[in-house]
Symmetry: C2
Subunit: 172 residues, 2 copies
DNA sequence: CTAGCTGCAAAGAATTTGCTAAGTA
DNA sequence: TACTTAGCAAATTCTTTGCAGCTAG
């Protein structure tokens, strides 16, 4: 069994949540879905479909790419994961269970993702939606920043070739 | 000359801005770029590369798709346009010149885009970034809402086959 | 002239989908 | 058993690139 950096409790809860979701939709629990839940919860931070797939493969629990994509959609719909678009061309996911809501700052330089929460902003967003008579379904706040100081401290090193290309090509 | 729903003044300003930008980077002004500026400014709302390309083609000023993509990058870098990711798989652009900054609400149902501004939210965002000692480069706030009431009024009808597929497939 | 541009076709990256065998309720 | 999945490969969608000839400065 692969190492799980999330508490067993969370994993239990997650599996139960998924089961309930599947039951409600008359879908089925499979080994691949269980495996994906475990692997997804043990990822730290924000991961891509490809990264999850690699983690599974490395862990000896190969699940096909197609299944990873289909599975991520299920995990997101069941609210185990939350998906984000950080404007770099690839969708990223993060654990949404047993965590508090938060927003993100993304360094345009090194693509590091820093999380933050601000209740006043949350409240104001809700206000805006209500003023329009709508219902909030979800929201996405991403601040694109330059974390020069942080990098100076040696903590801002995650740039990859691909991300660098994206960055300089004017996307985001 | 194609119809321009933007004031001639804005068009003038835009062309001057672009010229200045190009000069600074030792790039060249071309018919295609001029044409794209005109067409982009006359688009209303948020458009995709494909929509701009179609508008140009229909207007008899065919510009190749490759040039449209390359041109959009230039127009965005020169701050004539602003690009957004509304989590539907395609980048969208909107005029950024002679307009005030604003954020967006996107109806997850019909994909309509509603703009709004909220200075308090803006200020709080700036505060958050400063608290971390970073510099804000850009920010993106999108509220995904359900505009049922609005649709009831008959104003929420822009759903396309493709968008519908996206929506039901769990993206965003 | 000469670096930058355009169009075209081909390449790419990230997802999605059709199909058949296999698995779950 | 009946309907949902998994895996695989092929197909898509959006976007980027290589190249040859054209063009602005």
């Amino acid at each position: 069994m692969p190492r799980v950096s999330t508490s067993d409790d969370t994993l239990e809860t997650a599996l139960h949540t998924l089961e309930a979701y599947l039951r409600g939709k008359r879908l089925k629990m499979t080994d691949q879905r269980r495996t994906m839940v475990r692997a997804a919860l043990s990822q730290d931070g924000h991961f891509t479909a490809e990264e999850l797939h690699r983690a599974l493969t490395v862990g000896g629990e190969a699940v096909s790419m197609a299944t990873v994509y289909r599975g991520l959609a299920v995990l997101e719909e069941s609210d185990l994961l939350e998906g984000h678009d950080f404007a770099d061309g690839t969708r990223r996911y993060e654990r949404a269970i047993d965590r508090e809501h938060h927003d993100h700052m993304v360094c345009v330089d090194c693509r590091a993702v820093i999380e933050f929460t601000n209740e006043r902003i949350e409240a104001l967003q809700q206000e805006v939606v209500e003023e329009h008579g709508f219902t909030m379904n979800d929201h996405s706040l991403t601040l694109f920043v330059e974390c020069k100081e942080w990098r100076a401290a040696g903590a801002c090193e995650r740039r990859t070739a691909r991300e660098e290309r994206r960055r300089t090509s004017g996307i985001s």
